[in-house]
Protein backbone atom coordinates (compact mmCIF):
# COMPACT_ATOMS: atom_id res chain seq x y z
CA UNK A 1 0.00 0.00 0.00
CA UNK A 2 1.43 3.36 -0.96
CA UNK A 3 1.53 6.25 1.50
CA UNK A 4 -1.10 8.12 -0.49
CA UNK A 5 -3.47 5.15 -0.50
CA UNK A 6 -2.94 4.62 3.22
CA UNK A 7 -3.65 8.28 3.92
CA UNK A 8 -6.85 8.12 1.92
CA UNK A 9 -7.94 5.01 3.79
CA UNK A 10 -7.36 6.70 7.13
CA UNK A 11 -9.28 9.77 5.97
CA UNK A 12 -12.19 7.57 4.94
CA UNK A 13 -11.96 5.79 8.30
CA UNK A 14 -12.23 9.02 10.28
CA UNK A 15 -15.08 10.37 8.17
CA UNK A 16 -16.91 7.07 8.46
CA UNK A 17 -16.35 7.10 12.22
CA UNK A 18 -17.96 10.53 12.49
CA UNK A 19 -20.91 9.53 10.29
CA UNK A 20 -21.58 6.29 12.16
CA UNK A 21 -21.21 7.99 15.54
CA UNK A 22 -23.82 10.56 14.53
CA UNK A 23 -26.12 7.95 13.05
CA UNK A 24 -25.86 5.71 16.11
CA UNK A 25 -26.46 8.67 18.39
CA UNK A 26 -29.47 9.80 16.38
CA UNK A 27 -31.06 6.38 16.16
CA UNK A 28 -30.34 5.80 19.85
CA UNK A 29 -32.12 9.04 20.73
CA UNK A 30 -35.09 8.12 18.53
CA UNK A 31 -35.42 4.69 20.08
CA UNK A 32 -34.88 6.02 23.58
CA UNK A 33 -37.61 8.63 23.22
CA UNK A 34 -40.07 6.39 21.38
CA UNK A 35 -39.76 3.08 23.17
CA UNK A 36 -37.71 3.31 26.34
CA UNK A 37 -39.14 6.29 28.21
CA UNK A 38 -36.12 8.57 27.63
CA UNK A 39 -33.63 6.39 29.44
CA UNK A 40 -29.92 6.83 28.73
CA UNK A 41 -28.89 3.30 27.86
CA UNK A 42 -30.38 3.13 24.33
CA UNK A 43 -28.44 6.25 23.38
CA UNK A 44 -25.20 4.78 24.69
CA UNK A 45 -25.98 1.45 23.03
CA UNK A 46 -26.70 3.09 19.69
CA UNK A 47 -23.51 5.15 19.84
CA UNK A 48 -21.55 2.02 20.69
CA UNK A 49 -23.10 0.17 17.77
CA UNK A 50 -22.16 3.00 15.43
CA UNK A 51 -18.57 3.13 16.65
CA UNK A 52 -18.32 -0.64 16.39
CA UNK A 53 -19.54 -0.57 12.79
CA UNK A 54 -17.01 2.13 11.97
CA UNK A 55 -14.21 0.11 13.59
CA UNK A 56 -15.17 -2.99 11.64
CA UNK A 57 -15.33 -1.05 8.36
CA UNK A 58 -11.93 0.48 9.04
CA UNK A 59 -10.47 -2.92 9.81
CA UNK A 60 -11.78 -4.44 6.57
CA UNK A 61 -10.65 -1.46 4.55
CA UNK A 62 -7.10 -1.51 5.90
CA UNK A 63 -6.83 -5.27 5.54
CA UNK A 64 -8.37 -5.49 2.06
CA UNK A 65 -4.98 -5.17 0.36
CA UNK A 66 -3.59 -8.27 2.01
CA UNK A 67 -6.59 -10.58 1.84
CA UNK A 68 -5.83 -13.73 -0.13
CA UNK A 69 -8.44 -14.70 -2.65
CA UNK A 70 -8.36 -18.42 -3.24
CA UNK A 71 -10.60 -21.36 -3.75
CA UNK A 72 -10.87 -24.07 -1.20
CA UNK A 73 -10.66 -27.65 -2.31
CA UNK A 74 -11.62 -30.57 -0.14
CA UNK A 75 -9.68 -33.76 -0.52
CA UNK A 76 -10.91 -37.16 0.43
CA UNK A 77 -8.54 -39.84 1.65
CA UNK A 78 -9.26 -43.04 -0.19
Amino acid sequence: MSEKELGQKWDRCLADCAVKFGTGLGLGIVFSVVFFKRRTWPIVFGTGLGLGMAYSNCQNDLRSRYVLHSKYFSFEQK
Binding site: A15, G26, V30, F31, V34
Partner: protein
Protein backbone atom coordinates in the same frame (compact mmCIF):
# COMPACT_ATOMS: atom_id res chain seq x y z
CA UNK B 1 -64.00 0.41 22.01
CA UNK B 2 -61.77 3.41 21.33
CA UNK B 3 -60.06 2.88 24.69
CA UNK B 4 -59.11 -0.65 23.67
CA UNK B 5 -57.72 0.30 20.29
CA UNK B 6 -55.74 3.34 21.51
CA UNK B 7 -52.74 1.47 22.99
CA UNK B 8 -52.45 -0.55 19.78
CA UNK B 9 -52.56 2.61 17.69
CA UNK B 10 -49.95 4.24 19.90
CA UNK B 11 -47.67 1.24 19.61
CA UNK B 12 -48.16 1.09 15.85
CA UNK B 13 -47.25 4.80 15.56
CA UNK B 14 -44.12 4.28 17.64
CA UNK B 15 -43.06 1.31 15.53
CA UNK B 16 -43.68 3.35 12.35
CA UNK B 17 -41.58 6.26 13.58
CA UNK B 18 -38.69 4.11 14.79
CA UNK B 19 -38.82 1.84 11.74
CA UNK B 20 -38.96 4.86 9.44
CA UNK B 21 -35.89 6.39 11.08
CA UNK B 22 -34.04 3.09 10.75
CA UNK B 23 -35.07 2.74 7.11
CA UNK B 24 -33.99 6.28 6.27
CA UNK B 25 -30.60 5.64 7.86
CA UNK B 26 -30.22 2.39 5.92
CA UNK B 27 -31.43 3.81 2.64
CA UNK B 28 -29.12 6.83 2.64
CA UNK B 29 -26.13 4.55 3.08
CA UNK B 30 -25.27 5.75 6.57
CA UNK B 31 -25.00 2.18 7.85
CA UNK B 32 -22.97 0.80 4.99
CA UNK B 33 -19.44 0.93 3.69
CA UNK B 34 -17.05 3.76 4.44
CA UNK B 35 -17.22 4.93 0.83
CA UNK B 36 -21.01 5.24 0.95
CA UNK B 37 -20.75 7.13 4.22
CA UNK B 38 -18.41 9.73 2.77
CA UNK B 39 -20.70 10.10 -0.26
CA UNK B 40 -23.65 10.79 2.05
CA UNK B 41 -21.55 13.24 4.06
CA UNK B 42 -20.67 15.13 0.88
CA UNK B 43 -24.31 15.25 -0.18
CA UNK B 44 -25.36 16.52 3.25
CA UNK B 45 -22.66 19.21 3.19
CA UNK B 46 -23.83 20.34 -0.24
CA UNK B 47 -27.47 20.35 0.85
CA UNK B 48 -27.06 22.42 4.02
CA UNK B 49 -26.58 25.97 2.62
CA UNK B 50 -29.74 25.91 0.42
CA UNK B 51 -31.74 24.46 3.33
CA UNK B 52 -30.45 27.16 5.69
CA UNK B 53 -31.34 29.82 3.12
CA UNK B 54 -34.87 28.44 2.78
CA UNK B 55 -35.35 28.54 6.55
CA UNK B 56 -33.99 32.07 6.71
CA UNK B 57 -36.43 33.25 4.06
CA UNK B 58 -39.26 31.51 5.87
CA UNK B 59 -38.50 33.12 9.19
CA UNK B 60 -37.50 36.45 7.73
CA UNK B 61 -34.28 37.14 9.61
CA UNK B 62 -30.65 36.95 8.65
CA UNK B 63 -28.23 34.67 10.41
CA UNK B 64 -24.81 36.29 10.90
CA UNK B 65 -22.32 34.99 8.37
CA UNK B 66 -20.18 32.23 9.81
CA UNK B 67 -16.60 33.51 10.21
CA UNK B 68 -14.06 31.77 8.03
CA UNK B 69 -11.70 29.95 10.35
CA UNK B 70 -8.28 29.46 8.81
CA UNK B 71 -7.45 26.59 11.13
CA UNK B 72 -6.71 23.22 9.62
CA UNK B 73 -6.62 20.43 12.21
CA UNK B 74 -4.70 18.22 9.80
CA UNK B 75 -1.88 20.74 9.35
CA UNK B 76 -1.79 21.46 13.06
CA UNK B 77 -1.59 17.77 13.90
CA UNK B 78 1.10 17.08 11.31
CA UNK B 79 3.25 20.00 12.41
CA UNK B 80 2.80 18.95 16.05
CA UNK B 81 3.97 15.42 15.31
CA UNK B 82 6.97 16.69 13.35
CA UNK B 83 8.00 19.13 16.10
CA UNK B 84 7.69 16.51 18.85
CA UNK B 85 9.72 13.90 16.98
CA UNK B 86 12.35 16.49 16.07
CA UNK B 87 12.60 17.54 19.73
CA UNK B 88 12.96 13.89 20.75
CA UNK B 89 15.70 13.32 18.20
CA UNK B 90 17.81 16.31 19.32
CA UNK B 91 17.36 15.59 23.04
CA UNK B 92 20.57 13.55 23.56
CA UNK B 93 22.85 16.13 21.95
CA UNK B 94 21.09 19.01 23.71
CA UNK B 95 21.35 17.32 27.08
CA UNK B 96 25.04 16.57 26.60
CA UNK B 97 25.67 20.18 25.57
CA UNK B 98 23.95 21.52 28.65
CA UNK B 99 25.79 19.05 30.88
CA UNK B 100 29.13 20.13 29.42
CA UNK B 101 28.24 23.78 29.91
CA UNK B 102 27.19 23.12 33.47
CA UNK B 103 30.39 21.21 34.28
CA UNK B 104 32.45 23.96 32.65
CA UNK B 105 30.65 26.58 34.78
CA UNK B 106 31.31 24.60 37.94
CA UNK B 107 34.99 24.16 36.96
CA UNK B 108 35.27 27.90 36.38
CA UNK B 109 33.83 28.55 39.80
CA UNK B 110 36.37 26.31 41.52
CA UNK B 111 39.34 27.81 39.67
Amino acid sequence: MAAKILPVVKFATKVTIAGGALYVAYDSGLLGDSKEGSVTLGRAKAAIPPAVEEWMKYFGFELPATPKIEFSPLDAWNSGVQKSIHALSVTPSTVSDYTKQGLQYVKDLTK
